[in-house]
Symmetry: C2
Subunit: 448 residues, 2 copies
């Protein structure tokens, strides 16, 4: 019998604030980071997982992962990875740790990294990329890993089974199509607030030429800037859809007013118009900005909030995030909720490693859940992929199907060593010049 | 000019799981704990604050407080404590740390401890207990410390000013009445799930005899047990109100069904019938269990969720918690929201130190916000008060007005030293026998 031998957690950060990549109206100076966990077994297997953060506070997630890791030490590996529903519930519902959330923020993300490291172990054991592992599991096995607590009024296990059984029809053909043609992508690379107009136009044209389904622009700094930048982007890409993303910058009435003043540029969706905790606010905004769609999800804490966004008809697009919730299990719940309400899932990505992780959920969704690519695309941002064992591959504006066994979380050992914070050689080389070590310093540059 | 000289954080835990005090259907084995912060100035002043937790994971909050504390180091004390709105916003909206929530869970609670330590400094500087400091501030000063971000659609600064200006009428008389007669309390001490029927009956009778306005019973373990225990309690206290508390145990339909099967015992309110994230669920439950009231709040992450609970008419009683949200400022927002919607505030207390903290908000609410005691009472649990510099004083079932300058957070130095985890003498004496060090061990006993 093989047991969990060790669980080690690393604080890995990249000094992205030096370039203002990833800058928006709220996240003015992110240093893309990962609280990175490796779960090792007595047999030498490794499961990798991480939580994405914006820099400062990454050490808090590290500490939280260590707290939950104590619940897994020396446990039987097979019992964990062949009962991933039970493993997840043991962490998420721990009687004392639960108070830290419950099921939200630091503690939920920490659970997610550990749970996903167990999925990585399982997928590697079976020699499959996560999306193919999930697509090959029976509807009953999938339902067994979902925690229906506090969502059963909207999605019962029986309803989930119905969705998954329907998803078996034509599954083999859809998997073959994914292997051959991949899945549509859109890109946010042109639209960061920190970029010049010239860079915005150049990258927008490039994105259209490369075949992306949509581009996305950050908004919410100043209305005049947003109107100018949207006009430039619209001129650059013609009829290609353009989404806008406010990163929770507005209160409800302000969101409606602001978006209406951008509607001449035909935004495809407005993303995070207000606090993602504000379900009723999103419903009001959706009613107020129609026909512009409303999208949210990267900061939605758990399946219970997604359930309500769907019940309240508050969103047109559900943007699941791979490291915000309690791991693979909770994202399966989110896919099933979206399918139940007929809302398309367009996952959030970017940061560091989020593209590598999140693609698996869209591939699984198409193969075995919604069975549709209509109105569905995965966000793509061209950052930091080179640090991963299997970087995403983009061609013709589409994600190619990942092939390597595992969840996609595995970062190269050399990258992990170089960007370990604060002692890695990369950090010694840039010597404290980022926002990580100088809070607020970089924001002056970003808010121009 | 005096600056912040040091901010030290301590992991303090009490082995309460050994006695099953505080056990309920979800929190089966809490070890009441505090992530405790002391903010010291160059002049030797001290501001104290803490976050309450259930044991495991207290170290995660400690780490989070340290992360936010870095934003306050060496800053001008007067600038912080005479612009507490600015100080709070600087912490809560830090561009990188914000990702950890946003505004929820570990990070929000950590902000709260620091913000409240600054209020403790301010109140001590002015020689006033917090409730008198707040009651003496002008409506404009109070509005200035509130963060209206994401709640302005329900409560604008102008509306808050109107509420506070109305609260000036008769304020001196109400303060005099609070000083003379205190504020009504109810007690949860009889009703923990871990207690025997005999202990339940004895403590219920005692609570009624002592003049408490209500008793509260934990429910949600088994329906038959709940019916038996409620019958016993109803026989013991006659017509005294009895609230029931499910600690988020149920899904929505189950909550309605279960509470209906207890309605013969006339529960005054049902508390936390389901996930506190589930605003729409609370609204459905409230409609389904009327005339039983619905109460929640101890796990509500922030003012944005409270706003929606009020907008959706989902609660009859708002139970603010002193260490769940981002400190004194956010609880002022919660009081103002409740006043705007005409919903009474009955704060959550218990744990360790929550009674000492939360009483200030009800006293301030009566003095200068809602100006009413109707349907209002503060929870009281008879645990661990002896560790505080000014333990709450209860007489005739009422909280006496706190007198000592500060927020009430200050724990005795000897208690802090004895129960520092894991090295304090108290922990050496009990030697690893609690649920802190043995996850899950105590739950078998509590669930009987």
């Amino acid at each position: 019998m093989s047991r969990i031998a060790s669980i080690t957690v690393h604080d890995i950060r990249f000094p992205t604030s030096l370039e203002l990549d990833g800058s928006d109206a709220v996240n003015v100076d992110p240093d893309y980071s990962a609280a990175y966990v490796i779960t090792r077994t007595d047999d030498g297997e490794e499961g990798h997982g991480f939580v994405f953060t914006c820099g400062r506070g990454n050490e808090v997630i590290v500490k939280a992962i260590e707290a939950y890791a104590a619940l897994l030490q020396r446990r039987d590996v097979d019992e964990l990875i062949y009962d991933l529903g039970g493993a997840s519930r043991r962490l998420v519902h721990d009687s004392q740790l639960r108070w830290l959330g419950p099921e939200k923020g630091v503690s939920q993300m920490a659970c997610g990294a550990l749970v996903s490291s167990l999925w990585d172990l399982r997928a590697k054991r079976e020699g499959k990329p996560l999306w193919l592992l999930l697509s090959g599991m029976s509807p009953e096995e999938i339902v067994d890993v979902v925690d229906f607590t506090h969502i059963s009024d909207a999605l019962s296990p029986a309803q989930a089974l119905d969705i998954l059984r329907a998803g078996q029809d034509g599954k083999a053909e859809r998997i073959a199509s994914l292997q051959a043609e991949g899945f549509p992508a859109y890109t946010t690379s042109p639209g960061w607030l920190g970029y010049s107009d010239e860079k915005l136009v150049r990258l927008s044209r490039q994105a259209a030429a490369e075949g992306f389904s949509m581009i996305k622009l950050k908004v919410g700094g100043s209305l005049a800037d947003d109107q100018r930048r949207l006009r430039l982007a619209r001129e650059a890409v013609g009829d290609l859809p353009i989404a806008i993303d406010a990163n929770q910058r507005w209160d409800v009435p302000e969101a409606i007013e602001w978006v209406r003043q951008l509607e001449d540029f035909r935004p495809y969706w407005v993303e995070e118009p207000t606090s993602t905790d504000d379900i009723l606010g999103h419903a009001a905004i959706r009613a107020g900005v129609s026909p512009t769609r409303v999208a949210t999800g990267e900061a939605v804490a758990n399946r219970i909030v997604f359930k309500q966004l769907l019940q309240a008809k508050a969103i047109d697009v559900l943007q699941l995030d791979s490291t915000r919730v309690a791991g693979v299990n909770e994202n399966i719940a989110n896919l099933l909720l979206a399918a139940r309400f007929g809302v398309p899932v367009c996952p959030h990505a970017g940061g560091v490693g989020l593209c590598e992780l999140v693609q698996h959920f869209s591939f699984f969704d198409y193969a075995a859940v919604s069975a549709s690519q209509e109105d569905r695309m995965i966000e793509y941002v061209d950052h930091l992929h080179e640090h991963f064992a299997e970087p995403v591959r983009i061609g013709g504006g589409r994600y190619a199907a990942p092939q390597r066994p595992g969840t996609g979380a595995e970062m190269l050992a050399a990258s992990r060593a170089r960007w370990e914070f604060p002692s890695g050689q990369g950090w010694l080389d840039v010597g404290g010049r980022t926002a990580v070590t100088a809070p607020g310093l970089a924001s002056a540059g970003a808010s121009r």
